[in-house]
Structure formats: structure tokens, C-alpha cells
């Protein structure tokens, strides 16, 4: 249990560092800024309690916000994402999948399941992130384009990272 917690803290630190020091410096033409730290919310174990999930998401978003000087923006989007996570999981899972346990990773769920899972949650996160950033529905379609592009790239980055983590194990 303590070992698991330490492992998650390790993931947390690693992903935040990757996000802040590497990916935040990659911004193609202002539209694309992949969010790898979302992987931390994605891999939290199936059994995690709802309230605890929300708190973790809140703290994660807050940390990213502190580094990016956008207090509240990532926090709100990440909390929304964490809120939808249980519903997405139960939406994607068939009856036979209900005995999933431990980390939510590709090795447990299968590639197809995981790809859907990632894209849906990242999309939810990005919708809120970008519209909170704009704080209005002016330029609705331009913002939607940014959401879609960023969702695509974030998902690719997250799935690639996930793939290598699985390999390492």
C-alpha cells in the first residue's frame, strides 16, 4: 500500500516535470500544447474513492497551474475530467470487465479500450481548459479546432508514454 503510494508520487513528480520543463516549451503555432500530466489522472487505480479522486485531480491541476501561472484554469478542467472518469469507465466496460483491478493501464484493459478511454477524457479536459482560458464562446469554432488538435496531440503523447511504461514493466 505504502509502496503503491510512493510509486504514484513518483509518477506524479515525473509527469509534472515532463509537463513543465519539456512539453510546455513545445507549442506549435500556439495551437498545440500536449498535456502529459493527464496521464496521472488516467492511471490512478480503478478502486480509488470518488472523493479522493477529485482531491488528487484538484491538487494535480493546482500544481500545474502554479508552474504555468494560470491559477484555476488547469485545476477546473482537471476536476471536471476526474468527475467524468468513473462514468467513462463504466460506459466503456462490459460486464466481464468489471473485475479490472489496480492501475488503469493498457496491459490490463487492452489497447482499444485504453485509446477510447484516453481520447474521451482528454477531450473533456481540453474542452474545459480552452473555454475556461477564453472565458467566453466568442470564436467558438476556432477554439473547437484548438481543442480537437490539442486532444489529438495530447492523446498521442499520453498513449506513447503509457506504451513505454508498460514495456518497462
Amino acid at each position: 500500500m505504502i509502496r503503491d503510494s510512493l510509486k504514484y508520487i513518483g509518477y506524479f513528480v515525473l509527469l509534472i516535470v515532463l509537463q513543465v520543463f519539456v512539453l510546455n516549451n513545445v507549442q506549435y503555432s500556439g495551437y498545440i500544447n500536449p498535456m502529459i500530466y493527464l496521464l496521472f489522472i488516467l492511471i490512478l487505480p480503478f478502486e480509488i474513492k470518488g472523493l479522493f479522486l477529485l482531491v488528487v485531480a484538484f491538487l494535480t491541476g493546482l500544481t500545474v497551474d502554479l508552474f504555468m501561472n494560470t491559477l484555476g484554469m488547469h485545476t477546473s478542467a482537471t476536476v471536471v475530467m476526474a468527475f467524468t472518469r468513473p462514468y467513462v469507465i463504466s460506459f466503456l466496460s462490459r460486464r466481464t470487465d468489471l473485475d479490472f483491478k489496480g492501475k488503469v493501464i493498457m496491459g490490463v484493459t487492452g489497447v482499444q479500450w485504453y485509446v477510447k478511454y484516453t481520447i474521451i477524457l482528454v477531450f473533456v479536459h481540453h474542452i474545459f481548459l480552452f473555454y475556461f482560458e477564453l472565458f467566453s464562446f466568442n470564436h467558438f469554432f476556432l477554439t473547437l479546432l484548438r481543442v480537437l488538435l490539442s486532444t489529438f496531440f495530447s492523446s498521442i503523447v499520453i498513449l506513447t508514454a503509457q506504451y513505454f511504461t508498460v514495456k518497462k514493466k
Binding site: L51, L54, V55, M73, S76, V79, F83, F132, F135
Partner: protein, 275 residues
Amino acid sequence: MNTLLRFIQKYQFLLFFLLLEGISIWLLASNNYYQRSKVSSVTRAFHGFTSEKIAKGTQYFKLRQINEQLAGENLELRRQLAKNSAATLKYEFSQASENADMDFEFVGARIINNSVNKQNNFLTINAGKNKGIELEMGVVTNTGVVGIVSGVSEHYATVISLLNVDFRISAKLERTGYFGSLYWDGNNYKQAILSEIPQHVSIMKGDTIVTSGFSSIFPSDIPLGTVESFDKKAGNFYTIRFNLINDFKQLDYVWIVTNLHKDERETLENPSVND
């Protein structure tokens, strides 16, 4: 209390989500300049909207005051206008009645009652004995004759309008100098008749008709109108129909003409009256 707790327990996930999301948005709105300005622009728009509505509502209660203020302003402007047109008119009349050696003086007044749709039209003006108005004084504007004073009280006077079938004055054609008798035939308030012009006189459409100055009531050469048509039905004389310059429906300020030497002239012209 129990149901409340059960409700909270049942929806704890949703409620906690709303709590955290609320905190995040509060952080977002209070710490980022752009979002804060967005929020405050929304609240400002709301504030502006409500205060505008309130102002519109309270304006109704001020309408009376505003009306009074505007009426006062109008009065003041009219006063100034009257002063100005008095100056202009005096100048024009002094030019026109040069030959009369400034025999006339003018008193300004406003028309307070008027009609144009009867056969015997009268006007009422707001000047009477208090301003030296007497019977049989002429009433003019700078664009023509209005009528003759027919009754005077302390503060008001009635005026026989030019648009009265009993009204007659002497007028002349400015170009040729031939004079005739001017009257109104009771048809059109924009036209009057000049009769008794001899047939040999050349008349053209557009000729100007002015007062003759033969009576002691009006100064000479006040413009009255322009010839519209003429025919010789009435024997040896032309009957000229002409357009009045004055629009009697729009008259407002008028001038009452005082002949300073009226008595002297009448005594001279009618010595038998004094005998």
C-alpha cells in the same frame, strides 16, 4: 436533518465535484487578469443594465419638471426672437416708409386667436389699451397686411382679418403704380382680389402688389402678394387674383402700426368733420 445527511451522502461525489470546481473557478476568476476582466465586464454589464432600467423608471417622475424647464426655455427664446424680428421689421419699415418721413411707430404683439375658415374672420392679439392700441390701427407683419384693429380692451384687441369679406384697403401694383381696391372673396385663404385696375394698364403674372399708403392706417409699400391671374369681366376694369405672401394659418407675431400724425392728416383731409 437525517434526510439532508442522506442526500449529501448519496450525492457526495457530485457535491464535492461542484465544491472543488467552484473553488477552481473562483481561483481562475480572481487570479487571472483576463478572466477577472471578463467576469467584471459581465457584472458591469448587469449593473449597467439594471441602473439604466431604474433611471428610465425614475425619469417619468421628472417629466413634469423637465416640461416646465423646456417651456421656460421656449419662452425665453421666443422673447429673443421677438426682439430680433422687431429690429428687422423696424429697419424694413423705415426703408419702406422713407417717403412718409417715419410717420409710423410699431408695437409688437402675439396672435392668441385666429381663424381662416369663415367668411368673416377675426383675430385676437395680446396687446390692448395698456400698450396704446386704439381702434382702426393697422396690423401687419413684415410680409404683408394682417388686418385692422376693430375692438380694444385693457390687454387685448380684436382685429378684422384681411380674410374678411367686409375688409377693404387700397393697394397698388408696385411696377406701374396704379392703385385699386383690395378685398377677399371668401374662397381661398391664400389668395385675395385687387379690383378697379384700369384696362390699359399692363399686368404680368408675378407682379408685386403693395400697400398704397393712401389711407392713414398702413404705411406705403408693404408687400402683399404676387399676381396669379387677371381678367376683365367687370366692365372696364381688371380684376386681379393674387397670392398672399402671408400664410394666415401660420401667423404668430404681428406689429400694430401707429400713425403719429393721424389726427393732423384727418383734420386736414376732412375739414367738415371739425365744423
